[in-house]
Symmetry: C2
Subunit: 267 residues, 2 copies
């Protein structure tokens, strides 16, 4: 049994600041927990530690069980029973997917790639266009306008597109507005407020237990990841003045420094 925790009030305030944001689907929170706390090959979390973490966040045990079942069924995690305890870890697929976004989530500064390319598709009927636009978005491209895709990753083989390598020289207002739609801009503004609240709370909070540190870390990563992965990283010239994405990255980085990842065996 763990000792009674002395900082319940500060912790509860910090948790509720972080739960205010965005969707809070339990399976998605678990994805964040596994990615952050058990993201190395071979890392296992016991069912008991997972329960303590999710209960700390205010998630009901039944909801955690359902979400674990779903993630196992989807092939994101695998479980192992030994006696009465279960141990969970990322599957190879879950590990690969977490790994794919890790650098972007934890980078202290937004990477500003210098190598860019545009892909231009031939005119196609609107019904086909929507599908192709969606496919390119999921490959990490920015849809500049229908059939025009900006990317900085190594391009996939793209026989059917005009590929043009170079760099943006002028970004017009209409594109800035399209890149930062009101919902996304508002999500970042709201995240910034939450992260600042947590920083203020932590400044005067007593030393925390590993479980509470792990709880807050996971929630910070979860909130950040849910917004960050909705868009690609672009150089500063692509953003409006009201865009708080880079400010949030700085705050996330500060918080994760103050909440160093505990050993999962101590949870």
């Amino acid at each position: 049994m763990k000792a009674e925790r002395p900082n319940t009030c500060a912790l509860q305030h910090a948790i509720s600041a972080l739960r205010n944001n965005e969707d809070f689907r339990v399976w998605s929170v678990l994805v964040s927990i596994f990615g952050d706390l058990a993201g190395n090959p071979g890392d296992q979390i016991s069912g008991a530690a997972l329960s303590r973490l999710t209960e700390n966040m205010g998630i009901k045990p039944e909801a955690t069980r359902v979400a674990l079942h779903r993630l196992r069924k989807d092939g994101w995690i695998v479980s192992e029973k030994s006696g009465r305890t279960s141990k969970y870890q990322l599957s190879p697929v879950g590990y690969a997917e977490s790994q794919r976004v890790r650098a972007r989530i934890y980078a202290k500064h937004t990477s500003a790639p210098t190598q860019w390319h545009l892909l231009i598709d031939q005119p196609v009927p609107q019904s086909q266009r929507l599908g192709i636009d969606a496919a390119k978005t999921s490959e990490g491209y920015l849809v500049v306008s229908p059939g025009v895709y900006l990317g900085h990753a190594t391009p996939c083989p793209t026989e059917s597109f005009l590929r043009f390598d170079g760099k943006p020289a002028h970004v017009p207002d209409w594109l800035r507005a399209a890149i930062a739609p009101p919902e996304l801009t508002a999500s970042y503004a709201s995240l910034e407020a939450s992260l600042r609240s947590v920083l203020t709370i932590l400044a005067s909070a007593p030393v925390m237990q590993p479980l509470d540190i792990a709880t807050l870390r996971s929630l910070v990563v979860h909130n950040w990841r849910r917004i960050l992965l909705r868009h690609i990283d672009l150089p500063a010239q692509f953003y409006t003045k009201t865009w708080r994405g880079n400010v949030c990255r700085g705050l996330v980085s500060d918080l994760l420094d103050q909440l160093p990842k505990p050993d999962i065996l101590t949870l």
Copy 2:
């Protein structure tokens, strides 16, 4: 009075090979004559020399008079009367316009610029799009797809476009086909055949008079200009295998070398 010309037969064959091509609007032929033979500031052609040139091409005197009138009215040329003779020269506007395309017409090799840019417009209704596409075409851009413009000139101030500087890395077949529509490809193929005929005729023709040289030169330039200025110059990777534009440039260059520009005072 000029001496009887000994090479009438070869000349007539060459002229008719060149008259087979494209439109033969007299005012447009005169634009070619002025641009080629009297393209330097201060160059004047007498009305008599112009008549001899156009009659040599098979144009009726009345048609020449109407075309000269039109070009004067349009501000392309100015005329000066001294006694019973008229002298014509390019107006400042006509000179500037001729000058603007001179380098492209006479270049021995297609220039392959290394600096390119794409302009991407925001989505607009189709009715507006056609107008903007046409405006960008007249500024020397290639319309890659509606709202996407490729250019190598220094871009105009383009606040409302995304500008992307760089170079084409892959050109898809659909764009090659759009750049070389069947009519344009056929025009070049037909021009190539004419130019090759003229080269064959010249190879065995006797030495020519300045007037005949000037006549053939103007017709070569006219045919070439009428096709060349319908499109912008693009690197080789943008063209289909059936595109004969660059071959035609080589033949034009050979012909103009064999038909050196005579002094306009000798015509």
